[in-house]
Amino acid sequence: MNDPLKKFVKQHREAFDLLDPPKGVLLRLQTQLKPEARMPEPTSRRHVLPRYRRAAWLVAASLLIGLCTYLFFDGDGTTLRPAEPQIVQHVVEQVPPSDEPTAKPDVGSAAEAPAKEPKQPAVRNTMVHREPAPAPLAVRLADSTSASTRLAAILEIEQSAHMDEQLVAMLSQTMNRDGNTNVRLAALDVLSRHLDDPQVADLLATALTTQDDPLVQLGIVRIAAQIDHLGIEEALFSVARNPYTFEAVKDEAYAVLLYQEKL
């Protein structure tokens, strides 16, 4: 208590208490305090406004996030509408009710064909078994809707190791006409297992010049290296000298001719 002012006030307190407030002051203050007591405290009032302001920002941000999420997952807001919406409408009408794939020829059932003798222990198990009765081999080989069905049919022929004129004709047609290169190559592979058959050699010689798929042509040329056949020799010369032949096929043809000492 080194403060001189405080000491002075303490020592002369009586001198400061000379004046008394008017009697109505206390009553008036009490009446004023009563309604204020019902109102919120000024301190709390100060906090209310900023809180509401922040909440407004949060609401705005939530709306923005919701909009963005909607745009992100649906995109209708920014989707460019087609000039011809009929395309969509027509397709919608044909949507199957379930998510299952549409019915298509079953290749897997081909593995269960009873006519095939099991020459080798490993049985070709190709696709999912869904249809009880397998379609005939010729039908599956001509199935234009699925390249895998045709490929599975060819692999089945390969597995059976059986060959006759009808099968040779079917395989030859597949090798030359099929729309899928992989299927053509598989047919060529099966035919190449029967090079001792003169009919197969003749078919390969013909196919070499008429083939329109360079990959298959390349495969035939490589197989031709194993055959000493006049028709194939002429076909190789024809392919090698054709300016429109695919470069790799041409190189391969020259290589085979050199290999066979025909050049």
Binding site: I87, V95, N125, N180, K250, L258
Partner: protein
């Protein structure tokens, strides 16, 4: 206030790619989806719509083109706003390019995973990578210049590539037949070690590789009676050729043949012996055909 401004800016930044993205949707077809584009990312999902989207940076809008329709010598009309034509033909849906597209503009196609997909691109030299993943339907690919990447597809599939590589990763649910063929590119396939398959691998000028975990049981060629005659003739011819080559001076090649440019006859004679392996993995199962004419074929576990 500063924090709120930053939050708003971040939200707007998040929204910008969404606004830039264009989409076009069609209901799933009862037939196949034919895609004839320079490249695409095709992803399967559990839904009923085919969703085409372009997630690249949009080109500046040509003010002069407002109100006009893009024409193409191909005859297709851009009915999507994505530079492609999507048209229904019978039960199928066909996608074709309209005019020249920006190469950085990759088209994403989300497809119900059971739909069959056919991709074909044998004309465009400047082609993008083709990515197909998570599909359970049949896949057909015929391309010349696209690198092909296949991820987590079940098959069956027929993949042909003329000049580029093919890489495929399979999960456990493989459905055959699976045929993957490339002429000038390598073929690289990864699948679980427990996969049961009938395997055919071949290469004309490359090498064949397989992970030891597969324990490939190679069928002995001696049992193949029908080809023995041709094989004996081939072996005789090879022996004769080797004798002839030994008498010739060594051929020194300045550089190995590059893909797409053909191959010299000299290298053919030195290394062009057809490698062809047929066998089974884990007792046999789905048919798996992997071929490359000039490059290696790899079969690995994943």
């Amino acid at each position: 206030m500063k924090r709120q401004t930053i939050t708003l800016a971040l939200l707007l930044a998040f929204c910008l790619p969404v606004w830039a993205q264009k989409q076009y949707k069609v209901a799933r077809p009862s037939g196949k989806l034919y895609v004839n584009l320079n490249g695409a990312c095709i992803e399967g999902y559990a839904g009923n719509e085919i969703i085409f989207s372009n997630q690249g940076v949009p080109d500046e809008e040509d003010e002069r083109a407002k109100g006009l329709q893009a024409l193409s010598s191909s005859g297709f009309i851009d009915n999507t706003g994505l530079g492609i034509s999507v048209a229904k033909s019978g039960d199928d849906i066909t996608v074709n390019p309209v005019g020249n597209s920006d190469r950085s503009d990759v088209l994403y196609i989300r497809v119900p995973h059971t739909v069959d997909v056919v991709f074909s691109n044998n004309k465009a030299i400047f082609a993008d990578t083709l990515l197909i993943k998570n599909m359970k339907g049949e896949i057909e690919v015929s391309t010349s210049y696209n690198d092909v990447v296949l991820e987590n597809n079940s098959g069956p599939m027929n993949i042909k590539n003329l000049y580029k590589n093919i890489e495929a990763t399979f999960a456990n649910d493989i459905k055959g037949p699976v045929s993957i063929v490339s002429v000038y590119g390598h073929v690289d396939v990864a699948m679980p070690a427990s996969t049961k398959a009938n395997l055919t691998m071949s290469t004309g000028y490359g090498k064949l590789y397989a992970a030891g975990d597969f324990n490939v049981a190679i069928a002995p060629k001696a049992l193949d009676d029908e080809r023995s005659g041709a094989r004996l003739a081939e072996e005789e011819a090879r022996a004769k050729l080797a004798e002839r080559l030994d008498s010739m001076p060594d051929i020194v090649m300045s550089a190995p043949p590059s893909s797409g440019t053909g191959i010299s006859i000299a290298s053919m004679f030195r290394g062009g012996i057809q490698e062809n392996i047929e066998g089974t993995i884990n007792g046999g199962g789905v048919d798996l055909i992997l071929k490359s004419t000039y490059k290696n074929v790899y079969l690995r576990t994943n």
